[in-house]
Symmetry: C2
Subunit: 429 residues, 2 copies
């Protein structure tokens, strides 16, 4: 099940959507069987693009912020999912430590922490927040709305991480570890660290994720009898790209990759009679926060990059240098909120979709990255009393169901990905 949320798009349900709605029991069963074999990430959020003719995830976040954008109605679902996760992972748990992003006083992010603390408290744990930021040496008390947020310095006690007088059995990372796992989190074997350290952006690669997603999309396509391309953005990857190198042939290989991808997309568009202009998105393979992302319609554009763009493409969060890029088929969004281009972001805890919102941007278009400063968030309202199977012509089919399916496919891909990249995995030959 996926909560029935009211989407901005209200036109008729297209063939792909109708197919998913009709196949709902088969889809849910398929997910149940997948979760017997694979472990869902503790929590995740997925950015979705609906181009009308195709629907695809464009980013899968394993350290989701933005929980504050969920509506109060979604919170009970989040809490119940958190309970289910705790029951499965660590039923004996009493104390949970949330490790937030470093050096952040962003009010939105602080509100996110308040909400996360609330969700896991309501699930029945003692929840405290411990920063691994070396600058945080004393307890910080902040007023967030009408709540108080207390951030304490995380401490290492021998083999365990905790706070002064607080020994958690589970550590929830809300810090994407872009700069690598710090010493304080190394070799923690007695406590659950969730998500695992190798889900951090110093290890994770978008191309590895989309490789898993492609596998998931193929299997799901087979179940549904559809071309997996309808839910899968094609991609390739390129290592050793240097945007700062001013020489003439510096970006030649990347240009070629873009050209190859545009040709592939063009061929698919022709096959389906799609009139749109193809584009690709070049992204830092380990980039987060929407940084290091560029839409390209023609490989030639890479010859005329401004110094600003080059700088933007070569640096991501926390000043990390980037040389590995992913070249992904661009998926435009047909969703609009007050005429602004918008894309749904779906939130999950454990295997359950708990809610979502629209990310919209007034200065961006249907083919642009919307995850940039200036974006704003519009919560999805609940639609009550409609079944997902309600057919075309019914007052309001549950379009959000489809978004929940694609988001869960991306989450499943993340679970494949984390299994494949687990440094501690036991290998059976």
């Amino acid at each position: 099940m996926v909560p029935n949320l009211i989407t901005a798009l209200t036109g008729p349900i297209n063939e792909l959507e109708q197919r998913m709605l009709d196949a709902m029991p088969a889809i849910e069963r398929w997910f149940r069987l997948e979760w017997m074999e694979h472990t869902p990430p503790l929590y995740s959020s997925v950015d979705i693009r609906n181009a009308g003719f195709k629907l695809a995830p464009v980013d899968t976040n394993l350290f989701p912020g933005g929980w504050n954008n969920l509506t109060p109605e979604m919170v009970p679902l989040a809490v119940q999912s958190a309970m289910a996760a705790i029951e499965k992972i660590c039923p004996e748990a009493r104390n949970l430590l949330i490790i937030p992003e470093n050096q952040t006083r962003n009010p939105q992010y602080l509100a996110n922490l308040v909400q996360l603390q609330h969700i896991f408290s309501m699930a029945g744990l003692n929840v405290r927040i411990g920063s691994i930021d070396p600058e945080v040496k004393e307890t910080i008390k902040l007023k967030v709305g009408n709540k108080e947020l207390v951030i304490e310095p995380a401490l290492r006690h021998g083999r365990r991480v905790g706070l002064k007088y607080f020994d958690p059995c589970t550590i929830l990372l809300n810090n994407d570890l872009s700069t690598g796992a710090p010493g304080i989190l190394e070799e923690v074997y007695e406590q659950f660290v969730l998500p695992p350290l190798h889900a951090g952006w110093s290890v994770r690669r978008k191309s590895r994720h989309f490789q898993s997603y492609e596998e998931v999309a193929k299997r799901f396509g087979k179940l549904m009898g559809i071309d997996p391309w309808l839910i899968n953005p094609m991609f390739s990857s390129r290592k050793g790209v240097d945007f700062t190198d001013g020489s003439e042939h510096a970006l030649d290989e990347l240009r070629e990759d873009v050209d190859v991808m545009l040709t592939k997309v063009r061929r698919k568009y022709k096959e389906y009679g799609i009139k749109e202009t193809p584009f690709v998105v070049v992204k830092a393979d380990n980039g987060t926060y929407g940084m290091g992302v560029m839409s390209v319609h023609d490989a030639k554009e890479l010859r005329q990059l401004s110094v600003k763009t080059k700088n933007q493409m070569s640096l991501v969060k926390d000043g990390q240098q980037v040389h590995d890029m992913i070249i992904q088929e661009g998926v435009q969004t047909v969703e609009r909120m007050d005429k602004e281009a918008a894309e749904p972001v779906v939130y999950m805890i454990d295997r359950y979709v708990v809610g979502g919102y629209y990310r919209a941007h007034s200065d961006k278009g249907a083919e642009d990255n919307l995850n940039v400063p200036g974006a704003h968030f519009i919560p999805l309202a609940f639609e009550h009393g409609i079944s997902p199977g309600d057919s075309v012509g019914a007052s309001a089919p549950n379009r959000f169901y489809m978004y929940g399916v694609v988001a869960r496919l991306a989450m499943l891909a993340a679970s494949y990905e984390l299994e494949a990249t687990d440094p501690d995995a036991e290998i059976y030959d």
Copy 2:
């Protein structure tokens, strides 16, 4: 977690309530550990009485109707819980057959069936309704609100129960089997039958349930450091009571039981300085639908029973004769809806509280059974943004949390009870 619903009672939280709110993480952990050892019933509803000084379950229903009284906001929680239950019990399930009560055209009950079908459909199953009523020989199509309800005759195909062209892997009983399990349901070993047949009222006894509840209350009382009596209604039971026997000494033993119980209650009231007048409730040990229930303040009342009362006490649902009675400490309700006596009914699927409503009655008092014709139902609204731990003086502490705890204690007792009464249980000596 328990959804934060707004209760009718708005006075200050008393000591018992505050204790539960403060101990929330310990309570939730305790439940998690219990569910590692015991299997919750697939679904249940519990009638709760809050006397102010004590809080107790008075009836635990393992075939709950009234799902239609849940608000649309509660449905996503119910669906998510149903998903969790299916994942655990029968992840490979595709088809679910609901077996309803026989011979019912009660619009409320039909609306209940529509809601149940909706919940399990949204959880991702093909759900159909098959009646075991011998009178139902053809498919019945009914209009319930703006939905169509289709009831088909259930069929036995060799070792399996199903419908024409519909082979379910799971059979959900919404029929309490007061007259015993019919042949069509006997020796069904290939399909999941939930709840199990021995949860039916032809087998189940209230006294057995409250024996398990007493055990649960003692263990929970130990955890909380409270007298278990504060959450446990005392009881005794008596077999061979014949209300139809007009002779002088016919009800002597029952009168004595009532007297003994009243003395016990009086002693407890004295211990706690409670000024209320004690009473006991005499109920059919296997009665459902609120039938065969009587409040007694003085054993002498049993000498002057009217013929009508005697008849009411000797017959329960489907005309079953009653001879076994339970004599239970009466728990008055301090809850009022528009000045009417009211009691909360808490709904659960698997281990999760998904919602509830008030049962209220305009002609009944605080010490009466409210589950009688003329009762009406007032859904509980959600309270958003308040944590269960919010202390006395906070704008609105989550009183419903406490109801959710007691309801889950009763559900846990039902799980103990079903384990103890399972005819197919393997006995390890």
